[in-house]
Symmetry: D4
Subunit: 168 residues, 8 copies
């Protein structure tokens, strides 16, 4: 990676790409640096990639604005004393997308994904304790219009949580 | 929060606490700042909390070393063109912990949690595409000693991924 | 098969058969030829079976008209870049047949079968990609009146697809 | 489609494509014609697409050789008096691919697909009757090394079977 | 059994029994004879049990009238060419008994039992063929008020059917 | 039915029939009489069908010998104070038929059927009480070689048990 | 109940009873008093039932010795800060009773019952917290010989726990 | 335990505790004594713990009033001839808490707990026999507003029932 990765994909401007989120090789290298350390100085990344610090900063800002990257402090909920759970949600037919949106708008819910298989939506929630988890289930989640039923998987131990899966 | 949060929990030194991961109020305030923005300058956090920049830096480093916090660039796997999946794993009796450890050691696996319910372990994996997901299932996951069966939930749309769940 | 198969089932005319779709031995031999190669010239089939080319042509047309046979180019959806899925559908009681008919009328659905077991209807769908599959599920399938819930099995690899099962 | 679709994709020769099965626009138009009628004369397709009959013939042969297209007589198993079933198969861990290959090699099995979800492999089989289905289950399928269990969905009525899903 | 079983249970008349269906020892011996052969002559049974033929006849008639015994020709549905199925039925809450009664009133249903476990009611049905089974499911069973869903287990082979379980 | 049903199926002798169990119309009429009342005198049946009593007797004996019909006293196990249960059995792959045979040979088991769906074999058992049912499960059923797991549906109320499903 | 319940069941001595645990009416009245309050003075119970205090004491001791009654302080595990769970256990065929005995011998397990349905054995366990529950599952329960798999239902709130179900 | 456990937790009065149910060490020791024997004289407990009998009595009364402890005669329902069952209940979304309360108010229900996993609420019921269990299911449980479905696990044998799980 020493020789420097230029951001010179001529196709990007010249034709209508199918995927608007398509990333340049420079974007990908920057993401990989930040996956390793979210606070790595831009000057250090710039030196490693052979581009200017301004380019790294601009690209990074652009990635964040486009919603492709977030640079965050990820705390271990277990060590904060939280009770986490994954919850499988089944929806009334025809209300899948609106349920997913409603769940995504809840502050207690940090992860929402629509999947294949025996559930329609899987969410992750972070609660103070079992009583907080019950209140979330009974008073919040199950009151969302279009939720048909839910099945809770309570976390006993969080073994791995990483974000260094590279780029494609 | 303007008046400054002193880190003066006298109990912490004076008695044997049950939970070694226990956090001071200052730790918690710092975590909350970094949950909002992982690159927020320490000087800015220090000013908001009424403590020195050195204290914020030292505390943050300590939180990272203790494994309570990681500050990372989290890319959206969907937008990188990856095929993600959550996989429920059932283990042979008596091999739960070793299976969880083996899965955690795989670079294709970014999340491993032991849960209650109809699965023993839930993992998240990031693959290039369906063929890559199949190769992971057939050649990697199902060859782990002690895995009894697996059930894959393929991601159709990642709706929310956030880390701002605060502290307790 | 050299000696020629006459189509001389005297029973067929002489009595009221229970099954209107009943096939003569000649019908079956023609089907078997076309199962092997849908474009095999009728003259070649006629020679092999010891009947006239006109008889083969007429029989074949009749089989197609009766809905017993279709002669088609079957493309491999995988190789066309499609995302296929099998979907198990459960219906509201009393609406099974109308749901099956509604699903059969959808161009995105290429296979509909009513089965015994834990699903009422199984369908196969062909989508552009995961996003297309989700739109089909959320906006089309689950909006069919009488659909109670659905469970999607996403294709990871199509290993075999053949039509040479002979005749009975 | 009257003006003729030239097969002039300059990219195809000029760069290393990621997907070896990639199809030209002409390939796709030919497939669509044959999806409608597998015996449509090449001269008719050639005229519709504005290319030579030799080009259509050569392309078609190439598609068949590459395994992208098969042109076949597809009989309705129901009307032939067969008992069909879809069977969900779960495999012993680590034997998924070999089981799928073994099933694909069986003449009684006309469809094999590896899927996500509660089964590892889904197959379709065509049997003479219930007794034939039972013999297939007991004496053939369940004797494949690596099969852990099976669940049979017996067909009550085949409502739709089509192959006209177009190209992407 | 040679010495004769008198029907001399003095308790039966003398006190209010808890179970109105309680059987005398003679009743039980007669039942056992008829379980072995429903057409065994009463004179033969009477001789074996050391009682009069009139007593056997009267007792038998009483058992039939009380609904404790039926003497019937039980044909093997498989050998009659029928398609049988066991169907698990789940009911809307609060309608269990009325659904069971409605199912019991249907001539296509020869067995209705309310059970513990994942179904509320299990029934057995006898149909002409798969199409008849489907019509029963779609047009009859699923139209019963209070039926929530059904799961059909189609019979592949009836291996044993006996009624010689003796008495208690 | 007064005019008499002759047993004059000339096909039966003249050609090799596919189904050895095929029944003549006279057989079917006799079965229907005995389904209504297993002890109906042969003279009465003979008169109703317009044939000789000897013919009815001979036919009936033949049906019983061929295993198509049994004429039995069927007692209501509920009223005898028994605890009945239906048990779903799953087998180790490749041992389905031998398990079914082993179960059929047990006197505690009065019904064995191989089915499609989530179980491989369904059996009915008659036990003295819950303790007897447990002993059957633990000491007998689960010790059969090839049984993988079992799921018991305990009878709460037997609502209907009839054998008058006619002939086809 | 004022007139006094004599313990004068003459049948008890005079004939071989089927159920050795059978209780006299006096036994039942005493049980009902102690179900209401386990520390109710025997003199008070004796007065209410019209028998001597010695009789109540002797009967009670006998009930405890026979294992029919235990008089205990039942603490609310929730309020003691415990994490409770119900766990469904499936056993390897033929090992049901030995697994149940092994589980019953564990001090962490306060309830063991063999049931019908989708589990073989249901147990209740009391753990310090989630980590303690995990250690019990991984290191204790799943290491019992003959355990095939387990499914944990974690308690969110214990709503009712009573023992006043009377006698029959 | 000989030296006496003083109840001298100065924190208890001095600060607002998070958990109102928090127990002093003396409370816990008393509970443990009563878990072993609910009728153990207070004088004996007082001597063992080195406190006054009045203190033990007052503490015990307080624990009972606070709902932390009940001292009861627990009869073995099996030996009383009852038919017990555990029942998994699923609720209509948003009615979980009211269903749990309604079930808790029923005298036939002795245990109600809200759990994670495939059921929302688990209850235990005590019935006279199978018919009583059915009447409870059909006429009582399933008529509770908000109950969606139920699954009954009938008890075959109660192997262990203890309350000596100590304190935390």
């Amino acid at each position: 990676m020493g020789a420097g990765v230029r951001d010179s994909n001529p196709d990007e401007a010249g034709r209508k790409t199918r995927r608007p989120d398509e990333l340049s090789p420079l974007d990908k290298r920057i993401i990989e640096h930040l996956q390793e350390d979210g606070r790595r100085p831009f000057t250090q990344i710039a030196a490693a990639l052979g581009v200017s610090e301004a380019a790294v900063r601009a690209r990074t800002n652009r990635l964040v604005e486009r919603g492709i990257l977030q640079i965050v402090g990820v705390a271990d909920p277990d060590k904060l004393g939280f009770q986490q759970a994954l919850i499988g949600v089944r929806c009334q037919p025809g209300r899948l997308l609106e349920v997913a949106e409603a769940l995504a708008s809840m502050p207690e819910v940090d992860y929402v994904v629509i999947t294949t298989g025996r559930f329609d939506v899987l969410i992750e929630t972070v609660a103070e304790d079992n009583e907080g988890l019950l209140r979330f289930l009974a008073d919040r989640l199950q009151r969302v219009e279009g939720v048909r039923d839910t099945e809770t998987f309570s976390y006993l131990r969080l073994v791995k949580q990483t974000y260094q899966f590279g780029t494609r």
